[in-house]
């Protein structure tokens, strides 16, 4: 009898699942073999251990739940002891810790101030001024950028003014990108730039002003298509409170931001979009919004100026819809997107590393 068979028999015997004849045979064998007997005893106690482990765990969780319920129902309240008693308690408890902490703090402070006087360079006042000038020049630069971005100001929502910038991302590795339609408003020529700074000429192949999606195709001869996209496209909306993140170009360098899904509808209950709480800036428009599995759940489109951190994204199922209409009007069209993400089980920073290669800055030359 092999080990597996034997173990199974022992277990059946212990659970009383053997029939009479089998049981008799087993007990006989057990009497004749000290080894088998030993195995039965060991097995029994081991399985009891496992079962006890399970029971205890369940009991602990019941206790935990009970405590939680009673606390919520107000049966368990925090005891208020008199302030002075509390302070004396705290003092007597932490007296030793406090003494040690104070002396360590003292020594460290002396040590550090010694080190600082020893090593700090004698800073001339010029350096500091220069720094300030740099800051102000940076400020000027960024205000120029802001002004430029404001040119794309949309007039869709007069009540809640929204600002736009330009990001796009690959939906098909052959060179098809998705972005927000409003980013391309009044465009004469469109360039997209990848995270390494390479620029490619692109053109609009389809756009839907209502859903605020546009699909671009890179027409540049320099563009080399990549094999496969790491992320997939979700057909359904993520649940409320699920963490999401986005990548975009609010400045020349790619920027990562994270937040969560706060509502399944957009501004004034718009069902084409959803609401996120995430920090986004002009320039993030058109960027992908991904969930923790690395699936694109939407395209970042706008933020509400009157509230902080409230951002709207067009749901990704609208991309599917738009592609469907494209296919209907042009049968030669071969844009394909898939819903399985290959970065599902890797950590966030590795995900981002893979995703950022497919996120492009959109540069619009106005006509």
């Amino acid at each position: 009898m092999d080990q597996l068979q034997l173990a199974e028999n022992v277990e059946k015997y212990l659970r009383g699942e053997l029939n009479d004849a089998e049981k008799k045979a087993f007990e006989e064998a057990r009497q004749n073999s000290a080894e088998l007997d030993q195995m039965v005893v060991e097995y029994q106690s081991f399985i009891e251990q496992i079962e006890r482990y399970g029971d205890v765990r369940q009991f602990k969780s019941t206790l935990y739940d009970t405590h939680q319920t009673l606390q919520e129902d107000g049966f368990i309240k925090e005891l208020k002891i008199k302030a002075s008693a509390r302070i004396i308690n705290l003092w007597s408890r932490y007296r030793r810790v406090a003494v040690v902490a104070a002396s360590i703090a003292g020594i460290t402070a002396l040590f550090i101030s010694g080190m600082i006087t020893l090593f700090s360079p004698k800073t001339p006042f010029n350096d500091i001024e220069e720094l300030r000038r740099k800051v102000s020049s940076l400020e000027r630069q960024s205000s120029n950028q802001r002004n430029e971005l404001n040119k794309f100001k949309s007039k869709i929502e007069p009540g809640a003014s929204v600002k736009f910038g330009g990001t796009s991302f690959m939906i098909d590795a052959k060179g098809y990108l998705a972005t927000s339609a409003h980013v391309l408003k009044g465009a004469k020529k469109i360039y997209v730039q990848n995270h390494e700074g390479e620029e490619f000429l692109a053109e609009i192949v389809e756009s839907d002003q209502i859903a605020d999606i546009a699909i671009l195709k890179i027409t540049d001869a320099d563009f080399k298509p990549s094999k496969q996209l790491p992320y997939g496209f979700a057909k359904t909306t993520t649940d409320l409170s699920e963490p999401v993140y986005t990548l975009g170009y609010p400045k020349d360098e790619i920027v990562y931001n994270e937040g969560y899904l706060s509502s399944k509808t957009g501004l004034d209950g718009d069902t084409l979009s959803c609401q996120l709480t995430i920090s986004a800036n002009p320039g993030n428009s058109g960027g992908p919004v991904l969930n923790k599995n690395g699936e694109v759940i939407g395209i970042l489109s706008a933020r509400q100026a009157s509230a902080n951190g409230v951002v709207f994204a067009t749901k990704s199922k609208n991309i599917y819809k738009l592609l469907q209409t494209m296919r209907e009007s042009d049968t030669s069209n071969t844009v394909k997107i898939h819903n399985n993400s290959s970065i599902k089980n890797i950590n966030r920073s590795s995900q981002v590393k893979k995703v950022q290669e497919h996120v492009y800055m959109v540069k619009v030359v106005l006509g």
């Binding site: 080990q3 597996l4 006890r52």
Partner: protein, 187 residues
């Protein structure tokens, strides 16, 4: 003070992990223990931990066939908590305990020794379970803790048939056994 029939039923029910009974005992006794711990240099969290550990002792005793509760649940819980908290205070070298006039104390030292032993075993099993990894952990739990049969398990874990699942379970059990006894014998 003797023990009523009602208390006996509640005591048995705790061993069976019955929610209503646990909640009842919790409601009736938590306040006293909380008061005791918080007024003796403890925090709210200490009170909760001590009380839940005492409930655990009660649970173990209820499961033990040869144990008979001879005093009220309240008295037993208080005695256990008192002992546990005193030990914790001594451990932290804070022995300024206000001795309360509570004459209903039963000796629980032996019970606590048993409890310590069982807790150690539980922790060893927990560590071993943590080390065998998935799907072994879920497989073993499904069979021995949730008492699912092999057909269900095969379906749930995506094995082609019950025999495959059985085979896998056996391998997992052997690994778990090795991990468990490696620690257990060290104790």
């Amino acid at each position: 003070m003797g023990i009523t029939e009602q208390e006996k039923i509640a005591f048995k029910a705790i061993g069976n992990n019955e929610k209503e009974a646990i909640e009842l005992v919790y409601k009736e006794n938590y306040g006293l223990i909380q008061h005791f711990v918080v007024y003796n240099n403890g925090t709210e969290d200490d009170a909760r931990d001590i009380f839940q550990e005492a409930m655990m002792v009660l649970y173990e005793k209820s499961k033990q066939p040869d144990f008979e509760l001879t005093c009220q649940i309240k008295t037993y819980l208080y005695s256990v908590c008192r002992r546990l908290w005193l030990k914790k205070l001594q451990h932290a070298r804070r022995i300024e305990m206000q001795i309360e006039n509570f004459d209903n104390i039963v000796p629980v030292e032996e019970d606590l020794e048993d409890h310590e032993k069982l807790t150690k075993q539980y922790l060893i099993m927990r560590t071993a379970m943590g080390k065998i990894g998935e799907p072994c952990k879920s497989l073993i739990e499904a069979f021995y803790v949730h008492h699912k049969n092999m057909q269900e398990i095969a379906g749930f874990f995506g094995y082609t048939n019950a025999d495959n699942a059985k085979n896998q379970k056996y391998k997992c059990l052997v690994r778990l056994k090795k991990l468990f006894f490696a620690q257990y014998k060290n104790q």
